[in-house]
Symmetry: C2
Subunit: 343 residues, 2 copies
């Protein structure tokens, strides 16, 4: 590549920070002081929500197919998703980056363009962070602050018997997007002249590379005056998240295979990859959709929503956590989320 390459050492850490500051969107009135002091000063009312996530190269992403701009966006979006899952509104993030000398100033700028693009989409301010060297790859650690009115907060622990289990969007696409990207990487490695063939898989690849936290669902629930009884975002896979709600709430869940939200492209791609599409939805992970439970009395308000799906019911803990298959068999739900330490 003949693109311009500036070494980070030429600018130094402070020079790099000054350069990145030029890309930053202007700050909201919730930020009394942003980057540039020992800490940011923030004005937030209500209960404070705090969450954090770290993405490590070679573990959470592969830069051979993950564009840096998407990676920046995703690092923010997955944190926003955690605030959404508490029924909250995100306000501020800090971003710590570790960089090996493989990365140029231009690469870091591209990463931050993605970070700032997400900040704009979700109306949040970047108010601090640390940029340090790393002996190997890239690491991104994001922390996020949001807020919620005390009577609107939604935990994993509030699901009650008879509540309806809902999920936004569709499931399994991000997992299949990863399979597509991994396959194309193999093809490219065995023959570098091959052009990647991902156009027909664009939806799934996009879901993997640039997931969008469902703040739109949170706003719609608020407009309908619905406070879910429990909520979690689907990061590890629907099965794993259902078990989290079940455990935290002391209940059982019953979901129906025929009600799971399956996109046509996801179905076709699962067939092509000889993977069971229900397994993709249950265990795929990284969809960053919202899984939540509502009281039956709220069903009328949501029943015509095009993007919220009613997949089952909350039942007694003793009745267990089960999936009713299309052939009417009852199978236990298990967590098969990705365990980094065993992979």
């Amino acid at each position: 590549m003949s693109e311009k390459r500036t070494e980070i050492g030429q600018l130094g850490e402070f020079g790099l920070i000054d350069k990145l500051a030029l890309l930053a969107p202007s700050l909201s009135e919730k930020t009394l002081l942003g980057i540039g002091d020992d800490a940011a000063i923030l004005k937030v009312s209500g209960d404070i929500l705090l969450s954090t996530d770290m993405l490590v190269e070679g573990i959470h992403f592969d830069l051979s197919y993950m564009p840096l701009m998407h990676l920046g966006y995703k690092a923010v979006s997955v944190n926003v998703s955690d605030i959404a899952a508490m029924n909250g509104t995100p306000h501020h993030i800090t971003v710590n980056i570790g960089l090996s000398n493989r990365f140029s100033v231009e690469a870091v700028e591209t990463l931050y363009k993605g970070i700032f693009s997400a900040c704009k989409d979700f109306k949040i301010d970047l108010v601090g962070g640390d940029t340090t060297a790393s002996q190997t790859g890239l690491l991104i650690s994001v922390s996020i602050i949001g807020s919620v009115q005390p009577d609107k907060v939604v935990k994993r622990s509030g699901a009650g018997k008879g509540d309806i289990i809902c999920v936004s969007g569709d499931l399994g696409a991000a997992y299949l997007g990863l399979q597509v990207l991994e396959r194309e990487k193999q093809v490219f490695q065995s023959n570098p002249n091959m052009q990647p063939d991902i156009e027909k898989y664009q939806y799934m690849v996009q879901r993997q590379l640039k997931p969008v936290a469902r703040m739109d669902v949170i706003h719609e629930l608020a407009e309908q005056d619905i406070v879910p009884t429990s909520m979690i975002d689907v990061s590890d896979g629907l099965g794993s998240e259902l078990l989290h709600i079940s455990k935290a709430s002391g209940v059982g869940v019953k979901i129906y295979e025929e009600n799971l939200p399956l996109d046509r492209m996801v179905y076709e791609t699962a067939v092509e990859f000889k993977i069971d599409s229900t397994a993709c939805m249950l265990n795929g992970g990284e969809d960053y959709e919202l899984l939540f439970t509502i009281q039956q009395s709220d069903y009328e308000k949501l029943k015509n929503h095009p993007d919220i799906h009613f997949i089952g019911y909350v039942q007694d803990q003793t009745a267990g956590n089960v999936l009713i298959t299309k052939s009417q068999h009852e199978v236990p739900i298990t967590a098969q989320g990705w365990n980094h330490f065993n992979s």
Copy 2:
């Protein structure tokens, strides 16, 4: 070593989190919900302070002489120091850890013992975090939330002409501690039968390995009803921090070499290492003392404080940033803080 070694893969991420939770001190009433949901829920009044720091193995620490328990303590303490530097009180932290398979469950427990020891000392709650695999060494990313009443917040930007420049504790010890540890490492590598000879350097080694954020100074200033006009913590070195205050406040600073707080052991060790002790104090870094400016009218209240030193005055920006040496020469202050990207 014959110590017990449990692989992290045997427990999995959730098992590891459960095990660490047993070590955690109980949470304060400021924490409505701690670890275990998508985000923590916090009750904080006043303006919110938010800061973050990342420590990367091989860049910020060397595990051949940094005990994991101290590392955990230090990772928290350096963040507390940032909240102190805003004249705030720390309340909550999140900790993200990246671990290669070199680390056992027992090693991670030791690290968290240090983290929780600092939580106890500084009265803060650990309310969230991510534990992931890393392809190389250990990385620790800590974010911290504190608070401050709006009329008590201290930024870098408030220093005014005539203000007195103060620094807590003494300077240069942490840097010399690092020199001692590096020397002993070389000795050990060339002859593994040599016992490390660090007893007489204990003070400096301790300052390097386990710095204690000066929350005591913040409490004392509050008791005396003193709000500094500007403040910063000494992480990169006194020279670099003075220039931050000078730039942010639009002023110049004049400090006196004879007033710089030099510990006797620091002086003797600097002589032994053939390093100028004033250079250690100005450029050493990692002391995590507080550098602040006060109005002259507050001097009477502080003048007999045994651990606060008056090192100079704020002057006009046009008069520059200068050190008056013991021989009455005026030399410009320069930032020689550590640049990771050039080292």
